[in-house]
């Protein structure tokens, strides 16, 4: 009786809200946890400085974000996907299958990837790509022969490094950071140490060797972190011997707990990254569904606000937080103003 009433009213509420839900008035964003801090800074400022509501920014990783982005066009799909890597051909195809054809690619700046360890831990102060490869690859070169990785301590292959057990916390495969780590550190180390040549000489095709070069040992010395950098930080805090892979901005926020290592002799900073000297950096992007511009209020304004000189330029709040400004920001601003989609002009 009264239960019947309650249930019907509940259903009525659900029905009413379902119909009112049709008009979404805030921008919906998801994707890379590396871009999330920047996006949240911009989203807050966008709500504070304009008359549009504050966009909703979700985390979850570049791949997860792009997957949701490509689910289709309409108000129940997200408008913007943040990514710490460029969109892949496969993803563009998946998007097109679901009707998401016009995508605007916006590069917001660069992010450095640093290797940091506990501030009181062993003296991990200088690495090269070859060091990281020797420590973390499954097959390495020892005395000119390709063998299964026998190294247990850093000093096993480089006397300049401390005699501490190898333990590295690297981003999991769903993170865009992992790809950069593989391509700019492991793969480079693979070539430098001659392991790649050895693989090709051993009968592998060049493509297979390139793929094999990206592998990481699986005996527990290298640990995939699927969570955020805070999880990596907690693991580093618990393991004095551990080194972790962080974004530059995260490291700069936690300089009291972490010390950073140079890569190939260059210490990471916004300056060395913007000049391209520091080797491990990657561009950050977000992708906009052009079909949603004009449908979701504030979407285009959000994009141009994000890329304005005041926010993304040098000295802006994003640069203060650790983003390396894009020297070609003006071109990006123009591109957003003209709504240039991928493949149409760029």
């Amino acid at each position: 009786m009264s239960f019947v009433k309650l249930t019907t009213s509940a259903l009525a509420i659900a029905a009413v809200s379902a119909t009112t839900a049709a008009a979404r008035d805030q921008v919906q964003i998801a994707g890379s946890s590396t871009v999330l801090p920047y996006a949240s800074i911009v989203a807050e400022a966008f709500g504070d400085n304009t008359d549009f509501p504050t966009p909703v920014v979700e985390s979850g990783g570049s791949s997860a974000g792009l997957k949701r982005f490509c689910e289709g066009v309409g108000e129940n799909t997200i408008d913007v996907a943040n990514a710490s890597r460029a969109i892949r051909e496969k993803e563009i195809a998946a998007c097109a299958d679901n009707g998401v054809t016009d995508i605007i690619e916006v590069r917001i700046g660069y992010d450095g990837i640093v290797f940091a360890s506990q501030i009181d831990g062993p003296a991990y102060t200088a690495f090269t790509q070859a060091d990281i490869f020797n420590a973390l690859a499954p097959m390495v070169m020892v005395d000119g022969v390709l063998v299964e990785n026998p190294h247990t301590q850093w000093s096993d292959f480089n006397a300049d490094l401390p005699a501490a057990d190898i333990l590295a916390f690297i981003p999991g495969t769903k993170h865009g950071t992992r790809e950069v780590f593989e391509e700019k550190v492991i793969a480079v180390g693979c070539e430098q140490t001659g392991a790649m040549q050895a693989m090709i000489d051993g009968g592998m095709s060049e493509d297979d060797a390139e793929d094999a070069c990206l592998a990481v040992r699986t005996d527990g010395k290298s640990v995939d972190i699927d969570g955020d950098y805070t999880e990596t930080l907690a693991r580093i805090n618990a393991n004095a011997n551990g080194i972790g892979v962080f974004g530059l901005s995260f490291y700069e926020n936690n300089t009291d707990k972490l010390k950073v290592a140079t890569m190939a002799g260059i210490s990471p900073s916004t300056e060395t990254i913007s000049t391209g000297e520091y080797p491990v950096s990657r561009p950050l992007f977000f992708y906009i569904k052009k079909a949603h511009i004009g449908v979701i209020p504030g979407l285009k304004e959000y994009a141009s606000f994000f890329t304005s000189d005041e926010l993304s330029g040098p000295g802006g709040p994003l640069a203060t937080y650790g983003l390396v400004s894009d020297p070609e920001l003006a071109a990006t601003q123009q591109m957003i103003a003209d709504e240039v989609t991928m493949g149409s002009g760029s």
């Binding site: 909703v56 920014v57 979700e58 700069e252 937080y321």
Partner: protein
């Protein structure tokens, strides 16, 4: 006759006061068991004390903030200038820092300043103040008459200033960074000296919304509390009637056959399903198929309803079962129909148990994060209080556990503190709900 049986007893006659070996053994075993029990409880208590102490120690700093009090004058010209900028909030921050730096001598922060010193102080103040532009802008937009006359502002300082003053961080270990430089510490000390910087109760934390990652001082849990409230309404309104109806039917009306047995087993199994599974289901059914809004408490409530249903059904059935059959027999005996029996006699007697089960189910749902990850309630979401009652269900919002999770994963240590503070608030709510459940049980429960 009677004395003839006495010698036939083979008993070793012994004093009742002296224990024989077997009794001793049994008594010792009993004692040992008691000690095991006490040890188990003590271990539990120690962990509880450690947990509560840690939460209180880490979390209470979130309730206070370091604030800067300044009488600020904004001219009409400056107001117009700031409003015409792209990043208006930053313009206000700059104007404010400039104003304080210009007044540094009058206020007694420093003496004999050159213009260069002033510029340096202004730059230092921008670091010390953190993100205050939004507060100033909101004030002048709401009170345009205040432009031109002095207004007393009480603005939050940056999180690192807070850490320096409250956590007793020594200067030796201080590392200069973009966020706070070593010379800023002198300025902070001077400002503390003249009571310009002080500690006060952080209202923003209780009533505010989530903030950008560079602004831990502006973050508050208030909006997320409201989100939790609306989500709990959905859970309560849907799960209580559905589960009570289901339990009454299964317990009082349904025939006992293989089919109802199957349903029973499935309900028990559902109660043990990991909550993330319900999140995946919610994403597929409510958002992708039914096109309900993302990040909305309505969808969160629907997902958590699915999760809570089995819990409430099981406890409701248990309390219906505990009503003695004699009550039913008596009601049926005087001619009541089956439905009258259930609604007039059985249900009222079972109500305390049902309520307890419901409240515990709700408390479980209140602390749940995993299913909400998938329906868009985790991230930078809780930004504004809903405008209308219906809006409370459909507008994007977060909930307390999701907000805590978000804060805990941010780089700035200031957010870590906020996360612990949020845990305290969440625990207060959970504790209140559990206490209500206990009180209800104590007051209304009848033993047969």
């Amino acid at each position: 006759m009677t004395d003839a049986t006495a010698p036939s007893l083979p008993r070793k006659s012994k004093s009742l006061l002296a224990e024989d070996d077997r009794t001793k053994k049994r008594n010792a075993a009993e004692k040992r068991f008691k000690y095991y029990g006490i040890a188990a409880i003590s271990v539990g208590l120690v962990f509880l004390v450690i947990l509560v102490a840690t939460i209180l120690r880490e979390g209470t700093p979130a309730f206070t903030r370091t604030a800067v009090t300044v009488d600020f004058v904004l001219t009409q010209e400056q107001f117009d200038e700031a409003e015409s900028a792209v990043l208006k909030t930053a313009a206000y921050t700059r104007l404010f820092s400039q104003f304080v730096a210009d007044q540094a001598e009058e206020k007694g922060v420093a003496t004999d300043l050159t213009d260069e010193d002033r510029a340096e102080i202004a730059a230092g103040l921008e670091r010390i103040m953190g993100k205050i532009g939004s507060d100033i802008r909101v004030h002048y937009r709401e009170n345009p008459d205040d432009v031109g006359s002095p207004v007393r502002f009480n603005l939050a300082a940056a999180s690192r200033v807070d850490a320096y003053l409250n956590n007793g961080q020594s200067r030796d270990g201080f590392v200069s960074s973009r966020f706070l430089e070593e010379q800023d510490l002198d300025l902070i000390d001077a400002m503390v000296e003249i009571d310009m910087i002080g500690s006060d109760w952080d209202r923003t934390f209780f009533f505010g919304s989530d903030s950008g990652v560079d602004n831990p001082g502006g973050a508050g849990i208030g909006v997320a509390v409201v989100g939790s409230f609306f989500m709990m309404i959905v859970v309560l309104v849907l799960s209580l009637p559905i589960s009570v109806a289901a339990s009454i039917y299964l317990e009082e009306f349904a025939p006992k056959n293989r089919f109802t047995d199957l349903i029973e087993v499935n309900i028990s199994n559902l109660a043990a399903v990991p909550s993330i599974v319900f999140g995946i289901l919610g994403l597929a059914v409510f958002i992708q198929f039914m096109h309900l809004p993302q990040s909305a408490p309505l969808v969160g409530g629907l997902v958590l309803t699915l999760m809570t249903l089995p819990t409430i059904i099981i406890s409701t059935r248990a309390s219906l079962k505990s009503v003695p059959p004699s009550i039913r027999d008596a009601a049926l005996g005087v001619g009541a129909s089956k439905m009258q029996t259930v609604f007039h006699h059985v249900l009222p007697l079972a109500a305390p148990g049902i309520l307890t089960g419901t409240i515990i189910g709700l408390a479980q749902a209140l602390g749940e994060t995993a299913p909400l990850l998938l329906i868009g309630m985790v991230g930078f979401v809780a930004r504004a209080y809903p405008d209308t009652f219906v809006g409370g269900f459909t507008e994007a919002n977060s909930v307390m556990p999701a907000q805590i999770y978000t804060w805990a994963s941010r780089a700035d240590p200031g957010f870590y503190e906020k996360a612990w503070g949020g845990i305290i608030i969440l625990l207060v709510f959970l504790l209140t709900m559990n206490i209500i459940a206990i009180i209800l049980r104590r007051r209304f429960e009848r033993r047969w």
